[in-house]
């Protein structure tokens, strides 16, 4: 059946545009970056092979340690706040009468996009900003680490909670009613009902939401770049920001590529371990 004339002869021509675009603009740069991570390169002189030097240097780089710490805060914080709190709001509201209205406040911020989000929070968090005046304090929200990362995490939560809630609500509303009714008849309610009946039923969806959030949080860039550029100094950098700064600010293309490779390995490993746990 694979080679019937009825299927036409120009088939490779049809798949070629997709394959070529992906190969040239995605795969080739990927391989090239992997190679560059093993070189010293400033974009002007040709790359000079240095083996694993960049990676050895990474291990002893205090800025990288900060960056890894911040990235971990982003990952853990994303699980607790936008995802965890999103689950809470979903569970509290999914079977309420008029539940959709309770969720509107959380959906509104989702309309703001990337840099626009950071833009609107800047006057709130700045030194003489609204938050300080409102709370009657004098906190350097965006200056000292790690509270600047935490402050940005709260901004992120403000925006992301709604969409996570929405996904969980869809999941909750689509789980079968019968097991829940049966458990209710058996006298289960509240936390026990959730823990032992609802939670296992919504696991496939939770797996997707958590997986997406995990990968996205490992690659956090936009909000940090716009609000602090990873600073002051380098104390709010994430791995993605470190990669960008090493490469395009410090012109250390080889070293920056090594950070990119590290980020890729970490993301790949985390996804793999996570998927393996889910599939088991």
């Amino acid at each position: 059946m694979t080679r019937s004339p009825v299927l036409g002869r120009f088939r490779h021509g049809y798949v070629a545009p997709a394959a070529i675009l992906v190969a040239v603009l995605l795969y080739a740069p990927f391989v090239w970056t992997a190679y560059l991570s093993l070189t010293r390169y400033d974009g002007l002189e040709p790359p000079a092979w240095v083996g694993l030097d960049n990676f050895v240097k990474l291990l002893g780089d205090p800025a990288l340690l900060t960056s890894v710490r911040n990235t971990l805060i982003w990952v853990a914080g994303t699980m607790v706040l936008p995802v965890g709190l999103g689950l809470l709001v979903a569970v509290l509201s999914y079977d309420l009468k008029g539940g959709v209205w309770y969720r509107v406040p959380f959906m509104l911020p989702y309309a703001l996009s990337g840099a626009g989000l950071a833009m609107v929070w800047s006057p709130v968090l700045s030194h003489d900003g609204i938050a300080n005046l409102l709370l009657g304090v004098d906190t350097a929200f965006l200056q000292e680490a790690p509270q600047n990362t935490l402050a940005m995490l709260l901004v992120w939560t403000w925006q992301q909670l709604g969409v996570n809630t929405l996904l969980f609500v869809v999941g909750l509303q689509s789980i079968p009613k019968e097991p829940i009714e049966a458990a209710r008849l058996d006298g289960a309610s509240g936390w026990r009902l959730f823990r032992h009946v609802i939670w296992p039923l919504m696991r496939p969806l939770t797996a997707v939401v958590v997986g997406l959030a995990l990968v996205a949080s490992l690659k956090t860039f936009d909000i940090v770049w716009v609000l602090t550029q990873g600073g002051p100094g380098r104390n709010s950098e994430t791995l993605a920001v470190t990669m960008y700064k090493e490469t395009f600010v410090a012109s250390k293309y080889g070293y920056g590529s090594a950070v990119a490779v590290l980020l890729t390995v970490v993301t790949g490993l985390a996804s793999y371990l996570y998927l393996r746990r889910q599939v088991r």
Partner: protein, 270 residues
């Protein structure tokens, strides 16, 4: 009852910043005072602020370019992806699954793995800081998702449709163009919206591959506004800028909400 109370308290906490944003974006630029940020706006100056943001920050050219990227690249990407999906599923391309893996595999790299080579080779090829360069990379990034969703979609279509059209003497191209594409309109729309949103919100490719105000995508332009000028830009103007750049994705999403939901379910169920 406790549930409602918790939801209301949390909701109020969430509404606070939303209110601050709206009221201060509508405030006449010169009357902004952070200690009175909660006060109602008084005169409604939102449109003036938007106009000032677009003019003052030179967002006009950037907005137009971003609209171009966010429309052309997803269109090309989803068409090219759909054609690949059609070829793999309907035309039963040999080793089709491997072709599919090759194309879909393009989505797994973090964009950080692409930046240096793209920057260096774009500079060499004269594509740096050009609209064509950005359209190319955005298109390539969009192809895998298009191929993925449309491959799934076409798998659910009866092969007899193809055979019948073939009997009638239609070419494989014509069958794709006149039968399969129109049939998958809702799936195409769903992918288009996701990709439009992705490109509209892109920061890092714009940051890396463009420079001049007219070529730079709008999120990159906004980020530049933050770091260079925001200190000198009145806060209401900055807030209005944040709102105005967010508007297109919201409008598109609301306008196509139903098609979008339908397209997604068609794409994933089969």
């Amino acid at each position: 009852m406790i549930r409602r109370a918790v939801l209301i308290v949390l909701g109020l906490v969430w509404l606070g910043p939303t209110y601050l944003l709206l009221v201060n974006a509508a405030r006449p630029a010169e009357s902004y005072d952070p200690s009175r940020a909660w006060a109602p706006a008084g005169d409604f100056a939102l449109l003036d602020n938007v106009a000032r943001a677009v003019e003052g920050a030179d967002l006009g050219g950037s907005l137009a370019s971003t609209a171009l990227y966010a429309v052309v690249s997803p269109l090309l990407g989803v068409l090219i992806g759909a054609l690949a999906g059609y070829t793999i599923v309907v035309l039963r391309l040999r080793h089709g699954f491997w072709w599919f893996l090759l194309i879909f595999g393009g989505t797994v790299f973090p964009s950080q793995m692409l930046l240096v080579p793209l920057f260096v080779s774009y500079s060499d090829a004269g594509l740096y800081d050009t609209r064509l360069g950005l359209i190319l990379v955005y298109t390539a990034i969009n192809v895998p998702l298009g191929a993925f969703v449309l491959r799934n979609f076409y798998q659910g279509v009866a092969f007899s449709i193809f055979e019948a059209a073939r009997m009638d003497g239609a070419s494989t191209w014509r069958i794709f163009w006149r039968i399969y594409l129109p049939m998958s309109a809702s799936a195409l729309t769903a992918v288009f919206i996701l990709e439009f949103t992705f490109i509209w919100n892109d920061l890092v490719f714009g940051l890396t591959l463009s420079q001049t105000a007219d070529v730079r995508p709008v999120m990159t332009a906004i980020a530049g506004l933050m770091t260079d000028v925001y200190a000198g830009t009145p806060v209401p103007v900055g807030l209005a800028a944040g709102l105005v750049v967010s508007l297109p994705t919201v409008v598109l999403f609301l306008a196509t909400q139903r098609l979008f939901a339908r397209g997604l379910s068609l794409g994933s169920v089969q």
